[in-house]
């Protein structure tokens, strides 16, 4: 039932509902840490989409993003018994996802891959991005700016939360966000 409560309704309902949701999440975390598959499924349903989107917009590779998000979830579920359920789950999970995505993006930059021309046959077409122009513009950003922009505008983190996730001063986060958005706007020419 709680899944159907959207953020605006939650905000309007006030502290009581928010507390209930937090309690519910901490109970879910305890249950999942105790081995409950239902609780793990509930956590997955709540958090998968944001993680997958964030991974995709950082690495620009649907298959890799799927893997990164999957592995982040598996790692997080495996580490739940060490997680303090009183703390919010999402920032912790986002940190795992974003760090893995950053590692992947750096590793890919250093790794040589054979081109698609090496294949005489491809059985399925490549997956088309939903917003190719945005994808291209985002891909042109330096990794650190891209990560800050994705955390802010895909995951909805505040600059303070981004600073905590990336272990950076808040001023650095703000400047990366500003530069990143300016560069995107320039490329996309929508301002």
């Amino acid at each position: 039932v709680e899944d159907e409560v959207d953020a605006a309704a939650l905000e309007a309902a006030g502290p009581r509902v928010r507390r209930r949701r937090r309690r519910s999440e901490s109970a879910l975390i305890r249950a999942a840490a105790g081995g409950s598959a239902d609780a793990a499924a509930e956590l997955f349903d709540r958090h998968w989409d944001a993680c997958h989107r964030a991974a995709y917009w950082i690495v620009h590779d649907a298959a890799a993003a799927e893997d990164i998000a999957q592995e982040s979830f598996l790692a997080a579920l495996a580490a739940l018994d060490r997680f303090d359920p009183r703390r919010p789950f999402a920032p912790w999970l986002h940190r795992v996802v974003v760090n893995r995505a950053i590692d992947h993006a750096r590793a890919r930059a250093a790794r040589r891959e054979v081109g698609v021309e090496a294949l005489s046959l491809r059985a399925a077409p490549a997956v088309e991005p939903a917003d190719p122009a945005l994808l291209g513009a985002l891909a042109g950003l330096p990794l650190e700016q891209r990560v800050a922009v994705v955390l802010r505008h895909v995951l909805g983190c505040t600059p303070g939360q981004i600073a905590a996730v990336l272990d950076l001063p808040r001023g650095t986060v703000n400047s990366r966000l500003r530069r990143g958005l300016d560069a995107l706007a320039e490329v996309l020419d929508d301002r």
Binding site: A32, A33, G35, S36, A37, A40, A41, F44, D45, W48, D49, H52, R53, A55, Y56, W57, A62, A63, A64, A65, E66, D67, A69, Q70, E71, F73, L74, L77, A78, A79, L80, D81, R82, A107, R111, R112, E113, V114, G115, V116, E117, L119, L121, R122, A123, A124, A126, V127, E128, P129, A130, L134, V150, H153, V154, G156, A185, L188, D190, R191
Partner: protein, 502 residues
């Protein structure tokens, strides 16, 4: 629409499919096991034992407990002081032989005084008195052979089909499954043999008169001989030459004729180890360890408490492990730093094998872009697994873009687990097989292949080899019969033909 709004609305492609696949994968993975808590009963037991130990009859129990501790020291987390220990170390101490694995934990193999890894650390050849045994890393005995005299210095051939060992002063060879034990050469020095890579089961032997000889273990014939003197160690380089370290010299011999290609004076050498690529020597004298280039020069790292009792290189050639009694020193190949830790109950290191990401790889075949190699890292807690990106290598690229520890190698019979579509590691089923999309062929995904989504496997082969705590996979996507035949040819060339599914 502003940039911010576009970002907030932007979805990943195939989000629904990805979500469904991920949901299946994640929910199929065994749930996390709750952390064990110490129960009141366990606490009560500890209190009771402590109280009992204070009473006169309890002293006997105390002695028994202390005896247990002395007989088999508790695990030592080497990792805690040294960071991650790459690979698995075979170590010998008064309590027997141990495997010290990558997370730093120690497992006792049994009461052995000598040991050597099989290729990829699937088995250990262990010796004690007249006993030669093949045991697995858990210490379970696969086969045992009792000789007429004490045995020592077992060494597996590079593909695992033969083991050479010394019985007194004679060299003998036995097949990897324990059969066919036979004498090869008499009057050898107390130096392990060096098996040559490639067919024919050839090995270099140091004879008592000072000769280095190349023998065929199967034919029983000698190919060449060169007088070297008192040999400390020898190893084959990837270019087919034999590196020999004597008590004072470095020799490089041609592999086919035994002609000398290089001689360098080294000064006093008490112990020596040759890096896997043959490009670095670790030499121990009375003061410490010298790390020497093929030109015969290099820095000396003084080790407190020397002399050194044993030396071993990591498989990637990046680090030398030197033991001085029960102190371990890790020295990087440039000799510029030193890390040390005491490891109680270990007096020497017998062998060091198989770093993380180790993978069996075949030579490059330009016409085979459809064979990929990758490793699967298994979590020691079981039930979790993650792929290692670093070893995902386009086969057509060959080993050029691999770090040096990715070597051409193959295993002996019985090592392979072959399956299509799913397989088991030692911890149970791997739940994500068939849902992974990471494997690439060029820029294409494995999910692009026909049958990949439907689970129809005729064009897909997965050959799985456990390599210590890791599992090396060869995924072969053969697009047609010709591709399949090509894959068969490649696998035969690296000695994996026996792994092929019927």
């Amino acid at each position: 629409m502003t940039v911010e709004e576009r970002l907030e609305r932007a979805a990943a492609p195939d989000a629904g499919g990805a979500r469904e696949r991920a949901r299946r994968v994640i929910l199929a993975t065994p749930p996390a096991r709750p952390r064990r808590r110490r129960t009141p009963f366990a606490l009560a037991g500890i209190v009771a034992v402590a109280a009992l130990a204070l009473t006169p009859p309890g002293e006997a129990i105390g002695r028994w407990l202390r005896g247990l501790v002395r007989a088999d020291p508790p695990p030592v987390r080497v990792q805690a002081r040294l960071g991650k220990l790459p690979g698995q170390v075979l170590a010998i101490g008064p309590g027997g032989a141990y495997v010290i694995v990558s997370d730093g934990a120690r497992k006792r193999l049994g009461r052995y005084d000598g040991a050597a890894w099989s290729p990829h650390a699937r088995f250990v050849a262990a010796t004690r008195g007249p006993l030669l045994r093949a045991v697995d890393p858990e210490g379970r005995v696969r086969w045992s052979l009792t000789a007429a005299a004490p045995v020592a210095d077992p060494r597996w051939s590079s593909e695992g089909y033969r083991i050479a060992y010394r019985r007194d002063n004679d060299l003998r060879v036995v097949a990897g499954d324990g059969s066919g034990d036979h004498p090869l050469v008499d009057g050898v020095q107390s130096v392990p043999v060096a098996w040559r890579q490639g067919p024919g089961h050839e090995l270099a032997v140091a004879r008592r008169g000072g000769a280095i000889e190349l023998w065929s273990a199967d034919a029983g014939t000698r190919a060449w001989s060169y007088h070297a003197g008192t040999v400390r160690t020898m190893a084959w380089r990837p270019d087919g030459r034999l590196v020999v370290v004597t008590d004072a010299r470095l020799l490089v011999l041609g592999g086919d004729r035994g002609d000398v290609r290089r001689v360098r004076a080294l000064g006093r050498v008490d112990r020596a180890a040759i890096a896997p690529a043959g490009d670095r020597l670790a030499l121990a004298d009375g003061r410490g360890v010298r790390l020497v280039s093929p030109q015969g020069t290099g820095p000396t790292r003084l080790l407190p408490g020397a002399p050194v009792t044993s030396l071993a290189w990591s498989v990637d050639g990046g680090t030398v492990l030197a033991t001085v009694r029960d102190q371990w020193y890790f020295v990087p190949r440039d000799g510029r730093s030193l890390r040390a830790t005491p490891v109680r109950g270990i007096s020497s290191v017998a062998d060091w094998c198989c770093p993380e990401g180790s993978v069996v790889i075949a030579p490059g075949f330009a016409d085979a872009p459809d064979l990929y190699l990758r490793t699967l890292r298994t979590d020691s807690r079981c039930g979790r697994a993650s792929w290692s990106w670093a070893s995902t290598v386009p086969f057509a690229d060959g080993p050029r873009n691999l770090p040096p520890h990715h070597t051409i190698a193959a295993l002996g019979p019985g090592d392979a687990v072959v399956a299509i579509g799913a397989y088991r590691d030692r911890c149970g089923p791997e739940p994500r097989m068939g849902t992974r999309s990471r494997l690439r062929i060029g820029q294409a995904r494995s999910s692009d292949w026909p049958g990949r989504r439907t689970g129809d496997p005729p064009l897909l082969r997965i050959i799985t080899r456990p390599t210590g705590t890791y599992i090396a996979d060869v995924w072969i996507f053969a697009r047609d019969a010709a591709g399949r035949a090509r894959a068969d040819r490649i696998l035969r060339s690296i000695g994996w033909a026996g792994d092929l599914d019927p």
